[in-house]
Amino acid sequence: MSAWSRREFLKGSLVAGSGLAAGIGFPRILTAQGKEPIRVGILHSLSGTMAISEAPIKEVVLMAIGEINKAGGVLGRKVAPVIEDPASNWDLFAEKSKKLLLQDKVAAVFGCWTSVSRKSVLPVFEKNNGLLFYPVQYEGEECSKNVIYTGATINQQATPAIDYLMSPEGGGKQKFYLLGSDYVYPRTTNKILRLYLTKVKKVPESAIAEEYTPFHHQDYQTIVGKIKSFSAAGDAAVINTINGDSNVPFFKELANQGVTADKTPTMSFSFAEVELQTLDVKPLVGHLASWNYFMSLKTPENLKWVKAYKEWCKGHGIPDKQCVTDDPMMHAYIHVHLWAKAVQKAESTDVEKVLRALEGLEIPSPVGKYKVDEKNHHTWKPVYIGKIREDGQFDVVWKTKSWVRPAPWSEVTYPGRDCDWSNSGKGSFDVVGGKRMWLSDKS
């Protein structure tokens, strides 16, 4: 390194030059905003098949960031969103998250919808110690240090739905037809529900039917015929985890063959207000859905939020018909505020410190009290059952007495398994002979 080559010299001067430029340029920005903004990533599909569900999530995340900035930002700094569109492509999710973490150096990412997309970004977040907020209900059996799961676990959506259907208000149903699309979420959900029904609810195996159809399946004649026979005595309900477009032919067939919601209700876990706006709702009226949030909730916070979102729609060219709120949107909106509150509390954007601050953090929300679990990176919230109305909204017919503890590992499939990321914790563990056996140590 005694003599500088010409190329190295040029490179060096370029760096110096740009540094100088930055040095001249930056003070002006600093005086304008006080300090450099905190960057956060938004990783939701804005094109492709998932855009219908994910694009509204981006809107509420931006809206929450706007609210935070209006109130003075976090730690006296503004929050600046970096939006990436992974275009419903699972590989692109991993690529874009790498870009957000390494190039944009974002403090947190709000993103993903499908389990596949979450699984594909998980290694990226764990390797680079990023922080992902995930707003959608999912099948559980996961508990990453680098993810805060705000959507429902199975015991916060599916099992309360069973409790409701078996109760007198729900019609005292004794038989269950589990119907879903053939992929991981329905299969895992139904595996857990089957165990829950047989072990906890003492429903005999013969009173449970299970069936899967491929994606985009169109012909539900035979299956609806089976459901009709199965439910002839009026003591059965359908648990529906069919994904996306196949719901249309399924519900049309149900209605046409005279299976009524009144006698044989269908309980769905995978469509909410946003999806209902695009469907012919008539065949669905009276059927049920289980969520942590409905747009029709009458809490003061919700009325305020819905009103604010309507304003936002007007300002951002979203047609009134599409301007609805739903469960994943509520979680996404709340988790941005959760993150901001945690950063404020930690007085830092450092992932470790923010995670410490998030433990047990409580926040008012449209569903009432809402908090992050002290240990397992999931959140506490109530569960509502809603009946579909003609206008694509839900009438709330039932709710849990209070908020429900999140259980990423279901009690029935993995008895005794839980997750702890607090101070001493190392993630998921089994209890063997009264002692914790960390899963990370086993492998």
Binding site: P214, S246, N256, T278
Partner: protein, 543 residues
């Protein structure tokens, strides 16, 4: 509901019956019962007594209690109406000492319903739903009471049956009564109920009959129950067989409809049109757009949108097909691989265009005259939309056959397809025939898409779900043969729908499709030319 109650109340007063004289086993002094309801100590007992009543005055009383509209007023119990007026338990307006309608003094407190009895009141009130206005609600209330196993519902059902005029509801009420009478202590009653359920072949009563058989001691009832169960079983097997056959025919019609267009473009012309699915999609979106236009501008005629949409879908897809032929395909005749790739690309462009313009999911509402279905046997309903599709498929097939085999234009088409050079020599404009024939094929696809929107989804990728099935039908039927397409569609449809229930397991729909594909592949190995082979010189030329 309120007017109904008012009318009932008026009738009550006019006939001078009053609560006291209510007929049936539940007749007793309502006024006294009401005042005992108001006392917390006796509330539970009274509710128990009222639970078996079928008296509309009891319904009124209990509803008022549940809604907090029951008041103690000057030593008697009165009901507060929505208009603020007071009535007594028999529904007569309450007058004050001046003979004017009485008013509650402000601060009066309603009779409290103990939380613990809320369920009982709700269950009792549910029984009265068999008197409701909506026949469907009455029917399902009857069904619910029948399965409740609650003998207290018998008098309510019997009274409902007396006044019922709707045939379907009457049957439901009689079924419900029979189910409840299975638990009667009188063996003759039980026998009658068993016979009725067996005669009705009521699948819904199977659990009750089995329960009865397990505990029954009377030999005559036992024998009757066994026969009834056998009868029901036999009926269900027969009914299911008919149902599967209809499902198969209906799927066959769907396949026929979606592949008729392809039978023309691929079968006759030999063009591998990978955008065929997107032509169906165009038809579906035409239905959607017309529906939206009707909903926005002619809301009164929204039910007839489909009549407009069907021919419009034919036109739209036909015009797009014409443009496709003129712009792309005419340069690629005789080059099947290039045609395949180019039409696939066109299909993707159309898909993406639909996604950008319409978004990812929309759906078409069936007009009300195509909702629901015809109940051909107890528990077996043929949906109108599926019957419509069968009829439409037959009509389209008939029209196409007439056009191809009984018209001059059809003669030209067949001439060009069989021997292009000779036809051209005889003065047929082969260019025009090509264009029009291709356009006809896509137009048929448009009609199919429009009709299939009634039972399926409308989304940009819907074409993908159709294209493979369509090609399978045409290839199996034998390229170039209309009759082959028909037979293949029905065969695939029926065998799919017979295999699917036979497989069982948790993914029968997938395995049935796989099984059908395996059969088709095996068949084509055995007979590569399909069910109906093209014979003659043209066939040997193309082979």
């Amino acid at each position: 509901m309120h007017t109904l109650v008012a009318v009932l109340a008026a009738a009550w007063v006019l006939t001078g019956l009053g609560g006291r004289a209510a007929a049936g086993p539940g007749a007793f002094d309502l006024e006294a019962a009401a005042s005992r309801l108001a006392a917390p100590a006796t509330q539970k007992d009274v509710l128990g007594e009222l639970a078996g009543s079928s008296d509309p005055a009891v319904e009124r009383l209990l509803r008022a209690l549940k809604d907090g509209a029951l008041y103690a007023w000057k030593g008697r119990t009165v009901l507060l109406g929505d208009d603020g007026g007071l009535t007594d338990v028999a529904g007569r307006p309450v007058l004050d000492s001046q003979g004017q309608p009485a008013q509650l003094e402000s601060g009066a407190e309603a009779v409290a319903l103990d939380e613990a009895h809320f369920g009982l009141v709700r269950r009792t009130l549910e029984r009265f739903e068999v008197f409701g206005r909506d026949p469907l609600k009455r029917q399902s209330a009857a069904f619910r009471l029948g399965t409740s196993g609650d003998p207290a519902a018998i008098p309510v059902l019997a009274r409902a049956l007396e006044g019922e005029t709707n045939g379907d509801v009457r049957v439901a009420l009689e079924d419900a009564l029979a189910k409840l009478r299975l638990r009667s202590s009188d063996a003759a009653d039980r026998l009658g109920a068993v016979k009725r359920l067996g005669w009705r072949a009521s699948e819904a009563a199977v659990p009750q009959l089995q329960a009865l058989l397990a505990g029954e001691t009377d030999p005559a009832v036992r024998a009757a129950a066994r026969t009834a169960l056998q009868d029901i079983d036999r009926f269900v097997v027969q009914r299911n067989a008919i149902g599967y056959l209809f499902n198969g025919v209906s799927l066959g019609a769907v396949l026929l409809l979606m592949s008729l267009g392809l039978a023309v473009t691929f079968g006759l012309m030999g063009i591998i049109n990978m955008a065929h699915g997107e032509m169906l999609m165009l038809g579906s979106y035409t239905a959607y757009v017309v529906q939206e236009i009707f909903a926005a501008w002619f809301p009164g005629y929204v039910d007839s949108y489909f009549v407009v949409a069907l021919p419009l879908a034919f036109l739209v897809a036909g015009v797009v097909g014409l443009a496709l032929e003129w712009g792309v395909i005419r340069f690629l005749y005789g080059r099947p691989l290039e045609t395949l790739i180019v039409t696939w690309g066109v299909g993707m462009i159309l898909q993406q265009g639909a996604r950008l313009y319409f978004g990812d999911q929309t759906s078409v509402n069936s007009p009300t005259w195509l909702r629901g279905g015809a109940e051909v046997l107890t528990g077996l309903i043929f949906p109108w939309s599926r019957i419509f599709i069968v009829v439409l498929a037959l009509a389209a097939l008939g029209a196409l056959w007439l056009l191809l085999y009984r018209s001059y234009a059809g003669l030209n088409v067949r001439a060009v397809m069989q021997n292009r050079a000779m036809a051209a020599c005889l003065g047929v404009s082969t260019r025009r025939v090509d264009a029009v024939t291709f356009s006809l094929g896509t137009a048929l696809a448009g009609v199919a898409g429009c009709a299939l929107a009634l039972i399926g989804t409308v989304d940009p990728e819907v074409g993908k779900t159709y294209i493979v099935d369509s090609f399978m039908v045409v290839v199996l039927g034998g390229v170039g043969k209309l009759v082959g397409t028909v037979v293949a569609a029905v065969c695939i449809g029926v065998s799919n729908k017979l295999i699917e229930p036979a497989i069982g397991g948790t993914a029968a729909a997938v395995y049935a499709k796989v099984a059908v594909l395996v059969i088709v592949i095996w068949f084509l190995q055995w007979r590569p030319t399909g069910l109906f082979a093209q014979r003659g010189r043209a066939a040997t030329e193309t082979a």
